[in-house]
Symmetry: C2
Subunit: 121 residues, 2 copies
C-alpha cells in the first residue's frame, strides 16, 4: 500500500492543534474589519501625521461631520485611537503604535508585491 499523495487524516490532526479558539479568531477578524474601510483608513493616516480635531478630519476627507464622528467612535471603541477635550473641541490621536505596524504590513503586501502579470512574458 503506497503513501497517498495527500494524507488527509495527518493534515487534519496537524492543523487542529495550532488553531486558536473561536473567540480569539473572531476578535482578530473584528480588528481587521476596522481597517477594512477607506474612510477609517484615511482617518488613521491623517492621525499618523498630527493630532486632529473632528472639524479638521471632516475638512480633510471632505465628508459630513456625522459620518466622521461615527467612524471615530468605531476606531475609539477598538482602542485604535483616543481623544481628549480642549474646550469645545475634541482632539483625536493614535492610541498606540500597533496601528502603524499593522497598516505598514498591509502596505508592504500591496506595494512590494507587484505581482507579475500574465502578459509580462
Amino acid at each position: 500500500m503506497e503513501k497517498p499523495a495527500h494524507d488527509h487524516l495527518d493534515a487534519l490532526n496537524t492543523v487542529r492543534g495550532g488553531m486558536p479558539r473561536d473567540e480569539l479568531l473572531c476578535d482578530l477578524a473584528d480588528l481587521f474589519k476596522i481597517f477594512g474601510d477607506t474612510t477609517r483608513m484615511k482617518i488613521l493616516f491623517s492621525l499618523f501625521e498630527a493630532e486632529l480635531c473632528v472639524h479638521e478630519i471632516t475638512a480633510l476627507l471632505g465628508m459630513t461631520q456625522s459620518a466622521i464622528s461615527h467612524q471615530l467612535k468605531v476606531l475609539k471603541d477598538a482602542h485604535l485611537i483616543d481623544n481628549r477635550r480642549e474646550g469645545k473641541t475634541m482632539i483625536y490621536f493614535l492610541a498606540d503604535d500597533h496601528v502603524r505596524s499593522i497598516i505598514g504590513q498591509g502596505f508592504e503586501h500591496i506595494t512590494e508585491e507587484e505581482y507579475p502579470h500574465e502578459k509580462d512574458f
Copy 2:
C-alpha cells in the same frame, strides 16, 4: 493675538503631505477587508500549519463546501493563498509570509494589549 490652543491650518497642511493617493488607500482597505471575516481567518490559520485540500478545510471548519470554495476564491484573488491541482483534488497553501506578519501584528494588538479596565483601581 495669541497662538490658539490648536492650530487648524498648520495641522491640515502637515497632514495633506503624508496622505497616500486615494487608490492606494482603497487597495489597503480592501486588503484588510479580506482579513475581516472569521471564516477566512480560520482558513488562513489552517493553512499556517499545512497545505490542505478543499474537503479538509470544509471538514475542519464544519461548513458547506460551497461556502469554503467561495472564500478560497476571495483569498486567492487577493493573492493571499494559491493552489495546485493533484489529480481530482485541489491543494491550497499560503502565497507568502506577508499573511503571517499581518495577522501576527493584529494578534499582538488584541492579546498584548489587555487594556486596563476602569474598575481596576
